[in-house]
């Protein structure tokens, strides 16, 4: 049995009590899911994560992917686990029911995503990339393309990939060189090299559908001249008698990267040599097509951060309760044993509580954002859709960077709880540190997220996006400021809220004179906004917990736990906003003064 136990109770707490998803019955997809169905779905996904996926995680890391003659073999157990995942219908969770999906709201897909990421981050990349391809084809494909690809992708018979990065360009995709030349039959011939292609080649599916960004000759320079193409590994062509001929397309994996972690996920160099491709969406609108999926994809990576962090917390807290060393400072906790469990030590508790405060706060904020994605797309009221869309636009970079930074930090703290035993491989926690590291990089590094926040999201529509977060926080403070029971929560929230408003004004004002003032503090500002948003979630959770305890809930222990962790967050994590404000308002000078040659 693996160590991982899905936090089902906490998911239901967030969905039912914090977000009140049952109130959205009028939004497409929500009406089908009541609390008992949500419980069953989450419970069954939890079983799959705990019993099927988690047990292959460590072995997958040890074996890695094997590459020979263009063929990638995934570690043992991966094919069986992938079958179970696909046959269970978990790939098409929120895909269109017309093509075999289940049409569930995004917020439930987020819950399932966290469990799978906790069970195995490397494994989750394979179905995760398929979901991305499904979404791209659903939104931009022709009816024929949808008919051809979606049922196979949703059933997990075919895999999917995203081919963006090239050897000379990652962040700056305007520099893409891969060429797509139109052929007589209207299809395209693609030539070029793509790198860092997750799941580019593997043995889990019978075909792989590559989505590839390329340039049609004669297109405008830069990002306005990029188009998106579907390039299948195997091409099927039917003849008049209805028999199918399958040919291998000229796209091959030329090598697999050796890397720090995520070893069971194949990271491929893909070579396109006059490979046949089909335009997806309009020509020269490829970047826009990619970006429509970006919010969901970045939320997905943010949730990977929470997943790893939860897994690390579970390992470390179990260990801290079992491992006996030294004595509690105020006298032995277990006088008839030779030593006390290390959980008695304040520093160990500091580490564990930091991890737990991140996990539970981030879970609530991530699911709130997931819910807003659903509302932005499907709510009947236009104003609600726009407000939700503003919130998603603002929070996507914040939670992507913040939660993956916290995921890595948390895995690292978890390792620290194990001492030397954490540094050796057998305990399994060092793998989490290595695996978590990539989440801060792919789908846009934390630094890029910070620039997106400060450079694009803050100034957009004269600061309108920010109001989608600030208004609810402000109202909450107004409504609950007088409640003596909540003062441990509302007071620190109000203080940090004032600080982040101050930081926002500073950046807006000084950034207008010199954009480097904004950029120098961008990461700090992102962290600060993330902490304040988490504080708001904690204050809301505290309010619910207090009222449940007053009502005499049977789950008293659960709600008291929430209050304890929430108090820790307010007292020990949120004060970081003070130092962040100082850093932000020191401006560009401390980081830009030294000449580049001096480095």
């Amino acid at each position: 049995m693996s160590h991982y136990q899905a936090p089902v109770r906490d998911f239901l707490f967030v969905l039912d009590e914090v977000l009140g998803v049952s109130a959205y019955g009028n939004v497409e997809g929500f009406g089908d899911v009541g609390t008992d169905l949500a419980t069953t779905i989450i419970g069954e996904a939890a079983k799959l994560a705990e019993d099927v996926i988690a047990p292959i995680n460590q072995m997958g890391d040890q074996q890695g992917c094997h590459f020979e003659n263009g063929v990638v073999t995934t570690p043992s157990g991966y094919r069986e686990a992938f079958r179970a995942y696909a046959e269970g219908g978990w790939i098409g969770v929120s895909a269109d029911p017309d093509h075999g999906g289940q049409g569930l709201p995004h917020v439930y897909a987020s819950v399932i995503g966290e469990m799978m990421a906790s069970a195995s981050l490397a494994f989750e990349t394979y179905p995760g990339l398929i979901s991305g391809a499904i979404e791209a084809i659903e939104r931009h494909g022709t009816p024929e393309q949808k008919e051809t690809y979606l049922p196979q992708l949703i059933a997990g018979k075919w895999g999917g990939t995203m081919n963006l990065t090239e050897p000379h360009c990652g962040t700056d995709l305007g520099l893409i060189k891969t060429r797509a030349e139109v052929k007589d039959d209207g299809s395209y011939s693609l030539t070029g090299t793509k790198i860092f292609i997750t799941a580019g080649e593997h043995d889990l599916t019978e075909n792989i559908i590559h989505l590839v960004l390329a340039r049609i000759p004669g297109s405008p320079e830069g990002v306005r001249g990029i188009s998106l193409f579907i390039v299948p590994k195997f091409l099927a062509s039917g003849d008049s008698e209805g028999s199918m001929e399958v040919t291998r397309n000229n796209v091959v994996c030329s090598s697999v990267e050796r890397k720090m972690g995520l070893k069971a996920s194949s990271t491929c160099v893909m070579s396109f040599d006059s490979a046949t491709g089909y335009l997806l969406g309009e020509s020269n609108k490829g970047m826009r097509a990619m970006f429509t999926m970006m919010n969901a994809a970045r939320l997905g990576v943010a949730i990977q951060g929470i997943g790893v962090s939860e897994s690390a917390y579970q390992m470390a807290s179990t260990y801290a309760r079992e491992r006996c060393q030294g004595r509690a400072l105020n006298g032995p906790a277990k006088p008839n044993q030779v030593a006390d469990p290390i959980i008695v030590h304040p520093d160990v508790r500091r580490m564990l509580l930091t991890m737990r405060a991140y996990n539970e706060g981030a879970r609530a904020l991530a699911l709130w954002t997931g819910l807003q994605i659903d509302l932005s797309r499907k709510h009947p009221d236009q104003g609600t859709r726009r407000n939700a869309s503003d919130f998603v636009a603002l929070m996507t970079p914040v939670i992507k960077a913040c939660f993956t930074d916290m995921g890595f930090e948390s895995a690292n703290l978890g390792l620290q709880c194990f001492g030397g035993h954490g540094y050796v491989s057998d305990t399994g926690i060092e793998q989490l540190v290595r695996d978590a590291r990539i989440t801060q990089i792919y789908e846009g590094t934390s630094g890029i997220q910070a620039l997106d926040l400060v450079g694009r999201k803050l100034p957009a529509h004269a600061g309108r996006y920010l109001r989608s977060l600030f208004h609810p926080i402000d109202s909450f403070i107004q409504e609950n400021g007088e409640d003596p029971e909540l003062k441990d929560f509302v007071l620190p929230l109000a203080k940090s809220f004032a600080r982040v408003q101050q930081a926002t004004s500073w950046i807006v004002e000084h950034g207008m004179q010199n954009p480097e003032h904004g950029a120098a503090g961008a990461s700090d500002y992102l962290r600060m906004l993330g902490l304040v948003a988490l504080a708001y979630m904690w204050a809301r959770m505290a309010k619910i917990s207090l009222s449940q305890i007053q009502k005499g809930s049977e789950d008293r222990q659960f709600y008291e736990g929430k209050l304890d962790v929430g108090r820790f967050f307010m007292a020990r994590i949120l004060p970081d906003t003070s130092s962040l404000l100082s850093k932000i308002s020191s401006g560009a000078d401390p980081v830009m003064r030294m000449p580049s040659e001096a480095f």
Binding site: M1, G43, K47, G89, Q102
Partner: protein
Amino acid sequence: MKVLVAVKRVVDANVNIRVKADATGVELSNVKMAMNPFDEIGVEEAVRLKESGTASEVVAVSAGSSACQETLRTALAMGADRAILVNTDMELQPLAVAKILKAIVDRENPKVILLGKQAIDDDSNATGQMLAALLGWSQGTHISKLLVTDNEVEITREIDGGLETLKLTPPSVLTTDLRLNEPRYASLPNIMKAKKKPIDEVIPEELGVDVTPRLTVLKVEEPPKRSAGVKVSSVKELVEKLRDEAGVI
């Protein structure tokens, strides 16, 4: 042929059981609950009977609080056609459950009823046997293999020292053992379909069943901690100890 399958909501098998401080029972608040694993095997077997064309309908039954709906949803997601919840907040002991099931059997007239051989909470291993007695049906307990034909039920049972094969005349009460099958995971599409399957609710009074507990729980406590063993230096010493101290040979 209709098959009835009984499912019980119990503390999840992975949960560390804690006794309540006042020794009145086991801590159930804030504890993960799940379908009794032996009942899961029963549901799986019933669904397989349906898939092989032997059974025409599979009906899942549970008795307990409204929360048992979740357990029934799981049975429906695994492939049961419909479900019945006998809703009561009373503590249910094996005899009460057997009486409830008898009343349901009288209404539904199944040819076979499958139950777990025991529930992993109280481990009574009694409900199936009591039900068979109340119904006057043939019974096959602890089965590890099942073959149902028109007028015969052939079972293999796990007994001390080996396997016993019996032929029963239906209708029969069957209780499942661990090796009968490996239950499937409910797929997401089937979970979604299960939502549309009906769960009927009745209360014990409507069935004319008195569920008042007949047994009184005096005290619940944890088993004593195992004390450390002793090392022996030779086989001779081991044999002596087994004979003289333990008195087992």
